[in-house]
Amino acid sequence: MRNIETLLLWLGILGGITLRCIDISVPDVLTDEAQFGLGTSAAHPPLGMAFFRAALMMGGSNILALRSVSIVLGILFLPLLYLLVREWMDRRGALLVTALGSLFPSAILFSRLAFLSMTQLFFWTLFVLLFLRVKNNGSEKEKIALFLAAVASSSIKFQGFVIPFLFLAGRMMEKRGSVLRDDVSWILLLSLVPIALYDLTHPGVLASVLLYGGSADALGLIDRFMELFSVWWNILVFAVLLLPLSLLGCTRLRWEMHVFLGWVLLQGFLFGPSHEYYVTDLVLFVIPIAMLIARSQVSSIVVLPLMMMNAILLLGPSFLVRSSWTNPLYQQEGYWNLHAEEINNVLKDQDHVIVLGDAGHQLRWYMNPEILVGKDMDLSAQTGVFLLLDPSIAVPFADGKKLYNDEQTRIIVR
């Protein structure tokens, strides 16, 4: 029985790693991915985007290189998760956590995409691991590593500083009377200085906090919950059923894990429930789920195959298991991946093109000519080449010469 369980654990881990490495170039580069890959998002601090730039410099300007950062960190997250839970669980329990984490759908999905969520999760987890080690009579080297992990965590996304900040608050409450003599408190406080100065001198970051902090989605409380659950269901499907059960496993966790889990649960609600990348961090709930399994009569021999089937159903190799359950990004080949070369050929003699319709940043990834965003331009007397992404816009350009036309895109010269 034990051997079967061990085999299943390792199959789960290796299966999840494999799923992170397949179908990488199926979906189009998404608008956020293009922003991050081109290093042009003013909404976030620079470290996360620096990883993408480095990958593109080393691997060339292609989708695989762009998404390689998330693939590598998504895989490295697994041994990190193992080491984290080994701080209080035995080897077997930690392996179960790792196997469940490996098969968690959102962790697989966002390990395949060039969002900042996997990078953020990796550094937050590293920070929490080092915090626990330093608390346990950590060495001077571990203290420096904790500082660096805290600075790195704060420098990836605009909300990255929250975990180090909350841990500082928790530590100060722990140390109450002797905070001023506590090295860890000073280290955490110092680690927040660089990001505080960065945010002060880069208004785009603060603007993002205000934009995403409630008003962007303009949803009431109940609507936010419903939207959040809908997003979780779309990405996790059956794995979402484990989330309420996991709360039963949370009772025996230390305060650091309560803070970590509480924050990853809350951030989607606070910053916009429709943003799917926040679901990445829910993978941490495999920790209380595994603790619950260890305490209950339910064997991992039952749970692991179900998680495997769920992961394959949603994110299995698209050439083998494409179905109505498959994540929408992998239902079909991306439009721009299929058509960009032909469209660029049509535009090969153009220096710039005016785009009308939803001009996402992915156009700067796929299109060779310079893209001008036509939405706010006065086009009444404008001549040149127009790329129309919205079929309804074609009518005002009826006098233009059509250079290209398919189900999604028209190119007209006027």
């Binding site: 042009t40 500082f147 090295d183 660089p194 700067r364 299109m367 965003v373």
Partner: protein
């Protein structure tokens, strides 16, 4: 030395803070309410030129008699292009 770790962290804090400290003088003009109210209009003017705001970095702000001018460094970046920086100016007429 028992607190060597903390000493290293202090040095690293200063090192990591230097790039932002050098940018602090750029923030000073935004203490003016006129500049703060003119800034979104300046960005709208860039949008009317078809520019990508993410490719624009504020270089400096100029105060003239009846207008505030924002001078931007515009650098178009795509997968295949890294255009040389070009200066663009958007001026907002001040109401008195």
């Amino acid at each position: 030395m028992k607190r060597k770790g903390l000493s290293v962290c202090i040095i690293l804090t200063i090192f990591f803070s230097i790039p932002s400290l050098l940018l602090l003088p750029n923030i000073a003009p935004f203490l003016s309410s006129d500049v703060r109210s003119a800034a979104p209009k300046a960005i709208s003017m860039l949008r009317r030129e078809g520019a990508w705001i993410v490719n624009a970095e504020l270089d400096h702000i100029e105060h003239h008699e009846e207008e505030i001018c924002f001078v931007w460094t515009y650098r178009y970046r795509s997968r295949t292009t890294n255009s040389p920086p070009a200066l663009r100016t958007t001026c907002i007429h001040e109401k008195h």
